[in-house]
Symmetry: C2
């Protein structure tokens, strides 16, 4: 694949936008940004790798740019860095006609996205994800958010980007294990709505050293699932909740480990947990496939609280509308459903099975 | 007018909502709130007067409610109280199916509105304005916002309420001068788009002691102008900017006085300033009428910086898209236009005329 020959995935929200996936697409950002003044938001680690190239292409296109960085990591997804960024943008004269470009992983996308959503009641935002996880999930769909001490993503907005640019060349700098952890959400997208993508994982076709053309096709197929779900349910009043497959337990594991367990690892455990619950319900038994995938991910060890200790964290998930504990389960690959009537014993047993195997 | 016979002004945004103006309409709030759990946000002063009645009607309708109050005044329209409210809502178990009811003036509407806009990426919001200013302006149209040290309303969102309830009985507790200051935005709405309303002011028909029926009709007519403008330009990309008539100087006067000059007073001066600029341009000379209105308002004394000192504050207004200083002027009553080519000498002269008369 030559430079700039991107795979384009449309996101049919209002207004619609494109996700451009390819090798060397970072240089396309300047051509997509319509605004003359641009605040690039990144973290120190990502900025050291890619900010200069991005700023040069933006400035080469006649934009006035400034780079703002925060510390890498989840701690930057909070109100204090948010306030510092807002004040810096105000001080530096950015206005309603300016744009924010989020250059980084999910934390930066969420933080910079909420800055864009709320600075002067909302300015243009462009997402330039630099991790696989952000490319296939967080950068698409307009969810922005910050954490409070009381829980994750409790503050934020739906704020769609004007465009998303995923340059798969940026994935080459990732360690293989980071790639595999980032692939968990792509795997989940396969389970939800793209059996071909799921089978590629199960066959072992998805690897960190894919050629650019194959990597772009892989990333684009995962993005396509996300884009379809988002277009059908932009504000998560319905089927967008299916994207939480594996996340009820996943979020609980992240919380109970004080976020020492990474998101991809936690969701990988959560997918198997959901698989066990679905099997218990008599639906397709995917536990062997899910266990094989979990092995491929090689997650950090499972935290092993008792089920009693885990339960408050299961109930803290903000998707619980009615006080019922809700799970997304698969009747089959491509056939997800939300259930809120899994009895506690079944949950307890599935948790114990997980602990026996991975604790 | 009997209790509950409200004047209904529709706001045709998507989704549309109603502004219900009347005597005793506070009790209607419970019937309008669809959600089962309700966070009422108010300030200590307003809450002491009206919170109990509102909570009783909500609880009488089977809602679970909790009251949150902040200190009265502009200082509560900042990120610190915003964070405290968000954390309290999270701690107290509010979720995506809950509602926020903003009970208060413009500060509370802006603060509670932005909490609703961003808590769990947005929950239902109801505006219950308790001042004339908030009834005829801030509560309608979905603008929410907080101040930064760098300027006013630099953070916020467009977040339309599900309903607005304006109970004119609440205006009876206001001092007459507060009523007149609050009437400035209503007067501005008359100037912009309702000559009949404007003439009622000029004739002296608008007074703090209007009967409930007449008061409701007056408030509703001012709301109708705002609702029409908002429906035409929800996100202020066009003619909604006309609502800033009088506000370029008004905001500058507020800032230069460190907000010791109230908003109504500042805009009243700003309306006359805009009138002088329009007259200088050869448009209808309304300066006698505007001066008479200013006298009726009886504003606090005009701050008297030199024009050089004032200019940075004129340029800080966030509506300046391009670095040009923009003013909304009237070619005639009902015929506003945005101009950005008023030369500095003309501005300087108008300012000096204002200082000579009111400094």
């Amino acid at each position: 694949m030559g430079r700039n020959s991107a795979v384009v995935v449309p996101v049919d929200v209002s207004p619609s936008y494109q996700v451009r996936v390819g090798s060397g697409t970072l240089v396309e950002v300047a051509g997509l940004v319509a605004e003359a003044t641009v605040a690039v938001v990144s973290d120190d680690r990502v900025a050291a790798l890619y900010a200069q190239q991005l700023l040069e292409t933006l400035e080469g296109a006649g934009k006035r740019c400034r780079l703002y960085t925060v510390a890498p990591g989840e701690a930057s997804k909070t109100l204090a860095p948010y306030e510092r960024l807002l004040r810096a943008l105000a001080t530096d004269g950015f206005d309603r006609g300016s744009a924010v470009v989020a250059l980084g992983g999910g934390v930066i996308g969420d933080l910079a996205g909420f800055v864009a959503a709320s600075f002067m009641r909302g300015i243009a935002c462009y997402q330039v994800p630099t991790t696989l996880l952000a490319m296939v999930d967080a950068s698409v769909g307009g969810k922005t958010g910050l954490n409070l001490p009381e829980g994750k993503n409790l503050v934020g907005a739906f704020w769609q980007p004007r465009a998303v640019v995923a340059d798969v060349d940026l994935l080459r700098s990732l360690p293989a294990r980071t790639f595999r952890q980032g692939a968990v959400e792509a795997y989940k997208h396969g389970l939800l709505a793209d059996e071909g993508l799921w089978r590629r994982f199960q066959r072992g076709d998805i690897t960190p050293d894919l050629e650019p053309l194959a990597m772009s096709a892989f990333v684009a197929s995962a993005v396509r699932v996300k884009a379809t779900v988002v277009a059908q349910d932009t504000f998560e009043t319905g089927n967008r909740a299916h994207l939480n497959l594996g996340h009820t337990l996943g979020h609980a594991l992240e919380a109970v480990s004080s976020h020492s367990l990474g998101h991809g690892d936690a969701v990988a455990y959560g997918l198997l947990f959901a698989g066990l619950l679905a099997t218990g319900r008599g639906w397709r038994d995917l536990s062997d496939e899910l266990a094989a995938f979990l092995e491929w991910v090689s997650p950090d060890p499972l935290p092993t609280p008792t089920f009693d200790q885990l339960e408050p964290f299961l109930d803290r998930d903000k998707k619980n509308l009615s006080g019922q504990r809700r799970f997304v389960l698969l009747r089959d690959v491509g056939d997800p459903v939300v259930v809120d009537d899994i009895d506690r014993d079944a949950q307890h047993s599935a948790w114990q099975a997980l602990v026996r195997s991975y604790g």
